[in-house]
């Protein structure tokens, strides 16, 4: 039986208050950086209105002010190719130009990915996208 580990979880918000919670855990902890939010915002309004940093701070709304810079529920598809010409199709629908689609974030699932230059098929493959996983593809090679 693994020993009990006591872990203190500190929650800090610079514009808000400070809250500390202590939880007891029994397994070896896995630590991960779940994301970093950096951004800028603009707001214009008329006071007075109820404002409390507890509800409106960046702590509770990562990305609220700065746009959702990363998508936690999606999987990434990277298209590594020196080719610039070509169009990317997902399940038969046009997704964009190959030169601009180096990274695609998709919902988990199975897709038919195709890269075509005019009528010429450069790359066709059925891909399987999983949450938080990165699929590296090299569209120069043909795949059944």
């Amino acid at each position: 039986m693994s020993p009990w580990i006591k872990l203190a979880a500190f929650k800090l918000a610079a514009i808000g208050g400070l809250s500390v919670s202590v939880v007891s855990l029994e397994a070896k902890p896995r630590i991960r950086l779940s994301g970093v939010s950096v951004g800028a915002g603009y707001s214009r309004g008329i006071y007075p209105y109820y404002y409390d940093p507890l509800f409106f701070g960046a702590f509770f709304h990562p990305g609220f002010y700065n746009g959702f810079s990363y998508a936690p529920n999606l999987g990434e598809v990277r298209l590594r190719t020196p080719e610039k010409a070509g169009a990317v199709y997902l399940d038969g629908a046009y997704a964009g130009e190959l030169s601009k689609l180096k990274r695609i974030w998709l919902e988990p699932g199975a897709y038919n990915l195709a890269v075509r230059d005019g009528d010429r098929a450069i790359f066709e493959r059925r891909i399987y996208v999983l949450t938080g996983k990165t699929l590296d593809l090299q569209p120069t090679e043909r795949h059944p």
């Binding site: 872990l7 979880a9 939010s37 999983l130």
Partner: protein, 219 residues
């Protein structure tokens, strides 16, 4: 009638989709054996190739074999359960895609002991009219670090139900076809690592189906 024809064509299309394209000749596989009017060919897929081929993480717990069957004439009724992998005195049968996907999802699911760290910083410009203090405008900054436990934050990689369905679909799509086969067919089978797995251990694939028994050393 039309509906039946449509459903039949869908079933045929589904059957054709399963598995992968067999190589033109069984000799292109590292190991092949012809007996009882059927040629069985197989080779072990190296771990780095498994990583590139599958989105599902199979390298830790499974030996992946690429298997091809070339019936000389007539039809052959294929099922993954006809195959087994011998490793010394141990015998393992191929894993079921649904069970493998469920196991992977369970392993990836958040645990109470997980710790997530999420720093946030921001800068903004604010402009407002306050009837009490007058016009307010200026730059504001925000910063924070969020530390939590128990997987409260974003879903862990490949841990959602949608991921499980996708993993199952991937494994089923690429598995050796299940059913009657008239033409060469190929696909992968996922054998759990035998207990006390060792490096460079000798594996032997056994087919024990309607066409008889074929044993094949797999490298």
């Amino acid at each position: 009638m039309r509906v039946t024809t449509f459903l039949m064509s869908l079933a045929i299309a589904g059957a054709c989709w399963a598995g992968i394209r067999p190589r033109t000749d069984s000799a292109e596989y590292r190991n092949h054996e012809t007996q009882h009017g059927v040629t069985l060919a197989a080779e072990r897929v190296p771990a780095n190739q498994v990583r590139n081929t599958f989105a599902t993480d199979l390298t830790r717990d499974y030996v992946v074999l690429e298997i091809a069957v070339y019936p000389d004439s007539g039809s052959l009724d294929l099922t993954p359960l006809d195959f087994s992998l011998h490793c010394g005195s141990q015998i393992v049968h191929p894993g079921n895609p649904a069970a493998i996907a469920a196991r992977r999802q369970q392993q990836n699911a958040p645990r109470r002991s997980d710790v997530d760290i999420h720093p946030t910083v921001g800068v903004g410009y604010e402009s407002s009219n306050d009837p009490y203090s007058g016009r307010r405008k200026g730059v504001y900054t925000t910063a924070g670090v969020d530390v939590g436990s128990g997987g409260w934050n974003d879903p862990r990689p490949a841990s959602t139900d949608r991921d499980r369905q996708t993993m199952q679909q991937e494994l089923e799509d690429q598995q050796l076809p299940n059913g009657p086969v008239r033409a060469p067919a190929a696909g992968y089978l996922y054998f759990p690592f035998p207990a006390n797995k060792q490096k460079n251990v000798a594996y032997e694939l056994e087919y024990n189906g309607p066409m008889g028994r074929i044993r094949l050393a797999v490298k």
